[in-house]
């Protein structure tokens, strides 16, 4: 791809709302070369831990490095797959259970590229972006550090 994709703002404070997802979809309806959107949403589970039930995750990040890594993932995805658009949003701060902390939005003329790019991006984000999370437990300020498997 010769096209250069400008670094975009990925981090948002707190949860990502369904309304934000809806507005993102609507803003792609004027792009009539798109035939397929694949959307991935990460939602916070109320997991049962030894210490109690998770009530939310508090995210922090090494922000400068994370933004660079997000940009590199975007560039890699555009080079690997036939994509029209690609957006990644991730929460910082507290996201309560049931709310959304990751929104990956891939658009392509054809479904195959959209599916493959969506998976690729989610796996890359989980493995390579320096984001850290405290799983908040109960109402007395307890937590355990989260770790991607």
């Amino acid at each position: 791809m010769e096209k250069i994709h400008k670094p975009k703002k990925v981090f948002v404070q707190g949860p990502i709302s369904p309304d934000f997802v809806s507005k993102s979809i609507a803003s792609h309806q004027s792009k009539t070369t798109i035939g397929a959107h694949a959307i991935f949403l990460g939602q916070i589970r109320a997991d049962q831990k030894d210490e109690g039930i998770v009530t939310g995750i508090e995210y922090s990040a090494y922000e400068e490095m994370a933004e660079k890594t997000f940009h590199a993932i975007r560039e890699a995805a555009f080079a690997k797959f036939e994509l029209t658009c690609l957006h990644i949003y991730h929460s910082l701060g507290i996201v309560p259970t049931g709310e959304i902390s990751l929104f990956v939005f891939v658009s392509s003329p054809h479904r195959r590229a959209a599916f493959e790019a969506s998976e690729f991006i989610v796996e890359e984000v989980k493995a390579n972006v320096p984001i850290f999370g405290k799983e908040l437990i109960g109402d007395k300020g307890e937590y355990v550090w989260k770790e991607n498997g």
């Binding site: 990460g42 995750i57 995210y59 922090s60 990040a61 090494y62 400068e64 490095m65 660079k68 991730h90 902390s101 990751l102 989610v122 984000v125 989980k126 493995a127 390579n128 972006v129 320096p130 984001i131 850290f132 999370g133 405290k134 550090w145 989260k146 770790e147 991607n148």
Partner: protein, 79 residues
């Protein structure tokens, strides 16, 4: 030479601070830095962590140049 070190997540808790500056005479590599770090904070021996030099995850052989920005990163948890 001096290097600026930033700690994230549980490692900041272990270090008792989010960042510090080390001044030293000798040349550093990532491996040598790791050794000094574990000497200063023995509890980090039990933890998995990665070291980024100037925002790039770096292997032990990588030299650390003057005024480098070093980050000590616990396991990632994005998503």
């Amino acid at each position: 030479m001096s290097v600026h070190i930033t700690y994230f997540g549980m490692l900041a808790e272990m270090a008792g601070q989010a960042d510090e500056v080390w001044t030293m005479d000798e040349q550093l590599t990532v491996g040598k830095f790791r050794g000094l770090l574990l000497e200063k904070y023995p509890s980090m021996r039990e933890k998995k962590f990665k070291i980024a030099v100037n925002q790039k995850i770096s292997e032990d052989f990588v030299p650390i140049e003057l005024a480098a920005e070093i980050a000590v990163l616990p396991p990632f948890a994005g998503g």
